[in-house]
Amino acid sequence: MSAVLGDGAPARRREVRDADRLSRVRASVAGALGSVPRAAWACALVMLVNGLAWSLITPPFEVPDENAHYAYVQQVAERGTVAHHALPEGMLSPNEDGTLGAVLFYQMTGQMQNPAPMSELQQRSVEKVERERLSNVGSGDALSATNNPPLYYALEAIPYKLASGGSVLDRLAAMRVLSALMAAVTVLLIYLFLMELLPARRWAWTTGALVAAFQPLFGFISGGVNNDNLLFVTAAGVLWALARTFRRGLTPVNGALIGGFLGAGLVTKFTMIGLIPAVALGLALALRRGWSGQRGRALRGAAWATGLVAAPVLLYLALNRLAWHRGAVPGGVGSVAPGAGVDLKFSTGEELSHIWQLFLPPIGMHHQFTYLPLWKTWFKGFFGRFGWLDFKFPYHFYILALVVSVGVALLALGELVRRRRTFLRRVGEFAVYALALVGICVEVGVQSYREMIQTGGIGQFEQARYLLPLLGLYAAIAALAARFGGRRWGPAIGALLVVLAIGHDLFSQVITIARYYT
């Protein structure tokens, strides 16, 4: 008996210690959440309702690749495994395929003159498919989403399952709610990023976060099922964690935040690879800064960062190989073979030229584009090209947007010049954010060149939404522009920028309604 009691005492002590630790963790999490300003929650709430509005306005499957992302979630939810290429390619589940047909997906997508169903008779076709209770199991192929890592899809399987008693459209509606929630978290993280990046002016944080929350391309994507939504969360999280680290040092918590967000992003979408150089530079600079005074703490921080990046990625690579029987990196890396009948050949020199031309005007290069992607793809795309890239604003709108953008950029630049001493002190941090931009651009450029080689230039990979992982930097430009006005005029400039963003978002919704319902 006494032996039993004797054994039980240490166990009870352990339980008490564990309970203490748990309550400390709970208290610190509650403290951290409590320290988030109410304005940050308000900005996140604005994004949530904006994202939900977009999800109600945009017809089913009209967010780019939503049919493919839905198919991936269905594969995860119905079969408990990832998507894989299957022949014949594109065999979706009968239920999804039937629904796509009934909602006129195949006639609408890319055909801007074709609206969504307008007649009760077309609605009856949708209801007929819903009554048929077709199979939810497809070939396992998720079209363009097949090669993606599974984290977003695993999370979206929860609303899918919650709505599993309903139709494809019910499940899609439930899944869209989760995407909108993710967008709200993105805006919350952007607010926190601005708090660390540009301290002392709360109204500037609000300006930046709200300008991001009303960015219409972001709102449009957040209203659909697309793994970009989790990518945006993780990328905003990385920017926040980096800014925290520059401000407070490379602590284990900051290291864990950097690694956690980057690791989660890498198992969400490979675009996140573009942020690795920036994170590496950020960690190196933070380690250097902490080396003399707090070496141990900085090393622990770096270890947390590395470990939390490596763990999910290694697990993902291992599962790909051992459990899911697909290549370690589905889709592969490096050079690609040209598609059948394609005359182009992969060349590293041309690839570098392609990446340059994708973002900047060509200088002494063989022209690979018949248009200027900086204007057509990135600027016009970022300020308003929606659906499956099949509708946009009238041309004059983009000229107006260019004028406003140049004005905002000049104000932001003016603020940097005015604070040049601070800026020069923080030039390393600025280099990290610049490298984040370059990294994402290079990653997108590499993918774009691969697509060009594989399709002979017919397929177009690049879309403006691929820059949205850097939405935090867009918000920072708006916040900087507002700060240029100083204490006296800054809040008013901020309010003006927010009003412009609201107008931009509202009129984007108007052209979306006009596109699909008139």
């Binding site: 304005a39 308000a42 900005c43 604005v46 309702v49 904006n50 939900l52 509005a53 109600l56 306005i57 017809p59 089913p60 909602v103 006129l104 609408m108 055909q111 003159q113 074709n114 609206p115 969504a116 169903p117 307008m118 007649s119 009760e120 008779l121 077309q122 609605q123 949708v126 819903e130 309903g166 139709s167 459209l169 019910d170 899609l172 509606a173 439930a174 109204w203 944080w205 609000t206 709200l210 929350a213 009303f214 005029w489 809040p491 008013a492 901020g494 309010a495 003006l496 927010v498 009003v499 412009l500 609201i502 107008g503 509202l506 009129f507 108007v510 309604i513 006009a514 319902y517 008139t518």
Partner: protein
């Protein structure tokens, strides 16, 4: 104070622009046959007609819009007829002689209820040839052009009566937004979208104003 003024003036300006947009009048569609308008697919000689079946003739239609070429000359009269599966004429109309080639609007007798499985015939009722636009080939569809049958389809846009502002069209838009959506949301999605956007704008304005002094 400045923030309140900027916010109020800015939102008021947006509201004014919004109202101006809502009051813009134009011809509005009641439906379409969803066929890409890629090329002239049917050349009709004088007196010939092109017919296709499986058309959905939408409710509240008073005209049909088609792209027709007249080889650079003033167009001949064109007659369009919609026939139900029982052979009864549902609607018809004539485009009088003298129209200019391009997108033309042919007035038809008002259609108040939607019918599917409709046969539509477009006849060149004049003395000069015309060409009608649509898609060729369009597998699965049959277009009868004079004595020949080809795998093609003509593009028809169905138009509501007169010219309407967006404001006048709002009830129709609200009704259309209930189609092809989840049963969980379809009947209230349009109201919810408006309420949510008002909420987002109100909350954003309140947050900006509250943060002014911080």
């Amino acid at each position: 104070m400045r923030v309140r003024v900027v916010m109020a003036a800015g939102l008021a300006a947006l509201a004014v622009i919004f109202v101006i947009v809502l009051l813009q009048k134009d011809e509005r569609r009641s439906g379409t046959d969803l066929t890409p308008n890629g090329a002239f697919v049917a050349a009709l000689d004088a007196g010939q007609q092109a017919c296709q079946t499986g058309e959905l003739l939408p409710a509240d239609t008073a005209a049909v819009r088609v792209t027709i070429g007249s080889y650079g000359k003033p167009g001949p009269p064109v007659r369009v007829t919609f026939t139900g599966s029982d052979g009864a004429v549902l609607s018809s109309g004539v485009l009088p002689v003298g129209w200019k080639e391009g997108v033309v609007r042919i007035p038809i007798s008002h259609v108040s209820t939607a019918t599917d499985g409709v046969r539509v015939c477009l006849r060149d009722a004049g003395a000069r040839p015309i060409a009608v636009a649509g898609t060729l080939p369009d597998p699965g569809y049959r277009l009868q052009v004079g004595p020949r049958t080809i795998e093609a389809r003509l593009r028809f846009d169905y138009m509501r009566p007169g010219r309407e502002s967006w404001l006048q069209l709002l009830p129709a838009i609200a009704h259309r937004s209930t189609f092809a959506k989840s049963g969980l949301i379809r009947n209230w999605a349009w109201v919810a979208a408006i309420v949510l956007m008002l909420l987002a704008i109100g909350l954003a304005a309140r947050t900006v104003i509250r943060e002014e002094r911080r």
